[in-house]
């Protein structure tokens, strides 16, 4: 990846006002790192724009008519596996968030995020990193929690988090940055990234009961 080229972004959201707001904010705070190349207001439009523009990153609204972000993911990912999706939503419901992550999004941030943080998140997912907002980290911890009565550990490799992954996720949920986490756990930032990516992989492919339940509520699995 060339650091000089700005990351190309398509914004998918059914609220025109919101698309314009995101675009304006990214253009003022991250003119040199992020460039918005397209917008879409519906699932069909999104599929067409993504196929035409082939952006690096798609900012995806979770809730839209005709199936929402998950539908966009289902229709574009087979043809354009290189496009990275970052979910951007006002939703706080675990089933919404978990289901777009399972459909293939590499991160989730809430819409009240500041322009600078959003640009930072875009650059990070572009680089192959997973973006766990504190809220997503909380949901994932909740889903993987070993509480009494929890079921569904079929494949220990996929259905359980390692102790280290859990530590990293906990610190993420507390709002720590990678650098701070690395210093606290005495590991490198690269290792933190590896742990987060591994948590993302488990979230996407685990058969754990809580995760599949959240996803199947939206009929995705």
């Amino acid at each position: 990846m060339n650091d000089q080229d700005p990351v190309t972004v398509v914004v998918v959201d059914d609220h025109a006002l919101f698309r314009r707001g995101v675009r304006a904010e990214l253009e003022t705070t991250a003119r040199h790192t992020v460039s918005v190349v397209g917008e879409a207001g519906s699932v069909d439009e999104a599929v067409a724009v993504i196929a035409h523009r082939k952006p690096d990153v798609v900012l995806l609204d979770v809730h839209m008519p005709d199936g929402g972000g998950a539908a966009v993911l289902a229709r574009t990912r087979p043809e354009h596996p290189e496009v990275v999706f970052l979910a951007l939503s006002v939703s706080d419901a675990a089933e919404d968030v978990i289901s777009v992550i399972r459909a293939g999004a590499r991160g989730y941030v809430t819409k009240t995020i500041s322009g600078r943080e959003l640009a930072d998140a875009i650059v990070r997912v572009r680089a192959g990193d997973a973006v766990f907002s504190p809220r997503l980290a909380g949901f994932v911890l909740d889903a993987f929690a070993d509480r009494p009565g929890a079921t569904g550990v079929v494949d220990p490799e996929l259905d359980q988090l390692t102790r280290r992954e859990r530590d990293v996720l906990r610190l993420l949920a507390r709002g720590w940055s990678y650098k701070e986490i690395a210093a606290e756990l005495v590991i490198s930032v690269k290792t933190v990234e590896t742990h987060v990516s591994s948590v993302l992989r488990k979230t996407q492919s685990s058969n754990r009961h809580e995760l599949t339940r959240w996803a199947s509520d939206r009929r995705l699995v």
């Binding site: 706080d92 419901a93 911890l141």
Partner: protein, 453 residues
């Protein structure tokens, strides 16, 4: 029959008994109609509580209603179908309704019932509308039907809510099964007797008649169950429609109102007016969110109900108050949940104080709150990326952290961990070990302090 009467009463304790209802019951209505429906009485009934229910509904004495039934029964047995219809179509009153029925009233009712039945037989025998050999078997059939229907009543679901008891009456209790069997036997015997009176018919007709009679017997016996099935289906459908409607409303509010509120927060300016707008939008967003999805970090979108006293609800409420009072964004992330008790209440109060400190002194507009409920401990972390401070330099007069946070946690056996340095932001970590109610409270206050960087 009288011992059957007591069966509903013995199970009245299963549900919280509503206050005693004197006289005519202002029966809670189920449908949209405000007119009180007839509810058959559970207590003080002779056969099925129909007369009592009608009396309650009309506001007259039970004795008069019974008298009317007796007269109707005497009039060529018209009272029987009337009674049966009321029995089937009027739901029984909820369990737990207590009323004082003088034993005399019951005896009176029994006597009247006997009188009515005897009168019906006598008059019809004299009048010749029904010949004697039919009357006998028909009486047996009636008794059998009454027995089976009564049994259906005792398993009937309560009228107002309460889980359907389908499982129970399908599983059946031994005594109930015995009664149903006896009733069925009576009906079968009665029908057979009626048929046997018709032996002069030829064989084909007899077979046909037998099949019809069996069918009729089965239909008549199972009417209460069919009716109940229909009622339960209706109730389930209503519940489903209600849930669907709610989901639609939630989706709509989500797509329009929440988006707009998020936008307002982003676009509001930095002047005092802008901050006020942002604060209002935040508080509205929080309320709507709580209504749509339940407490933050909560499970799959269950909505908050009044009286849902859990740790996560209390923490979210505290965060909301701080958000409103100081105009900063406080975003709690909660993993797991626990019922509220004095310990977690103290923890929430301590966390609130830490949030207030961060909002007042850190000079930032966002505070992260993370709480995790584990089997052995509840942890809360309140973090800001603000100016930080030197803990040793805090004056004696500023007692917020020491008094409210540290002492409070100490009294409940918890610990406080403080990480801060000038320019580095602050994180207050509160750890509260969870105790079983049976064990003695943990030892003396224990506070650890740990400073990094």
């Amino acid at each position: 029959m009288s011992e059957v009467d007591q069966v509903p009463g013995t199970r009245a304790g299963e549900q919280p008994a509503p206050p005693p209802t004197p006289g005519p019951t202002p029966a809670p209505t189920q449908g949209p109609t405000p007119i009180p429906r007839i509810r058959r009485r559970r207590q003080g009934s002779v056969v099925a509580g129909v007369a009592g229910g009608v009396a309650d509904h009309l506001g007259v004495d039970v004795f008069r209603v019974r008298l009317v039934f007796v007269v109707l029964v005497a009039a060529a047995g018209a009272g029987f179908p009337a009674y049966a219809a009321l029995w089937l179509f009027c739901p029984i009153e909820p369990r737990g309704v207590r009323r004082d029925v003088p034993p005399r009233e019951r005896q009176q009712g029994l006597a009247l019932a006997t009188l009515g039945v005897g009168l019906a037989f006598a008059l019809s025998a004299v009048g010749g509308q029904l010949s004697g050999w039919v009357i006998g078997p028909l009486g047996v059939v009636l008794a059998g039907v009454a027995l089976v229907w009564r049994e259906a009543d005792t398993g009937a679901p309560t009228v107002d809510g309460g889980p359907p008891r389908r499982a129970r009456w399908l599983a059946g209790r031994r005594l109930g099964l015995l009664r149903v069997l006896a009733g069925s036997l009576l009906v079968a015997a009665g029908l057979a007797a009626v048929l046997l009176g018709n032996v002069d018919l030829n064989q084909v007709q007899f077979g046909l008649l037998a099949a019809l009679a069996t069918l009729a017997g089965v239909v008549v016996l199972t009417i209460p169950w069919w009716l109940r099935l229909v009622r339960e289906l209706g109730a389930e459908r209503r519940e489903r429609i209600r849930g669907q409607e709610r989901a639609d409303i939630a989706a709509h509010l989500h797509d329009s109102v929440l988006q707009t509120l998020a936008l307002i927060q982003k676009q509001a300016g930095e002047d005092p007016a802008g901050r006020e707008v942002r604060r209002l939008a935040r508080s509205q967003e929080r309320e709507l969110r709580a209504w749509l999805y339940g407490p933050p970090g909560g499970d799959t979108g269950r909505a908050t109900r009044a009286g849902d006293a859990t740790f996560s609800v209390a923490l979210a409420a505290a965060a909301g108050e701080v958000e409103d009072d100081y105009g900063v964004r406080v975003a709690p992330v909660v993993v797991g949940d626990a019922p509220a008790d004095p310990d977690t209440t103290a923890l929430v109060a301590a966390a609130r104080e830490a949030m207030v400190n961060a909002a007042k002194h850190a000079g930032v507009d966002e505070v992260d709150v993370y709480a995790e409920v584990e089997p052995e401990a509840v942890e809360v972390y309140v973090r800001d990326r603000g100016c930080g401070f030197d803990p040793d330099a805090v004056g004696e007069d500023r007692r917020g952290l020491a008094g409210s946070v540290r002492d409070r946690m100490g009294r409940h056996g918890g610990t406080v961990r403080l990480r801060t340095a000038p320019g580095e932001g602050t994180e207050v970590g509160l750890v509260l070990p969870r105790r079983r109610r049976a064990t003695a409270p943990a030892g003396g206050p224990e506070t650890s302090e740990e400073e990094t960087r």
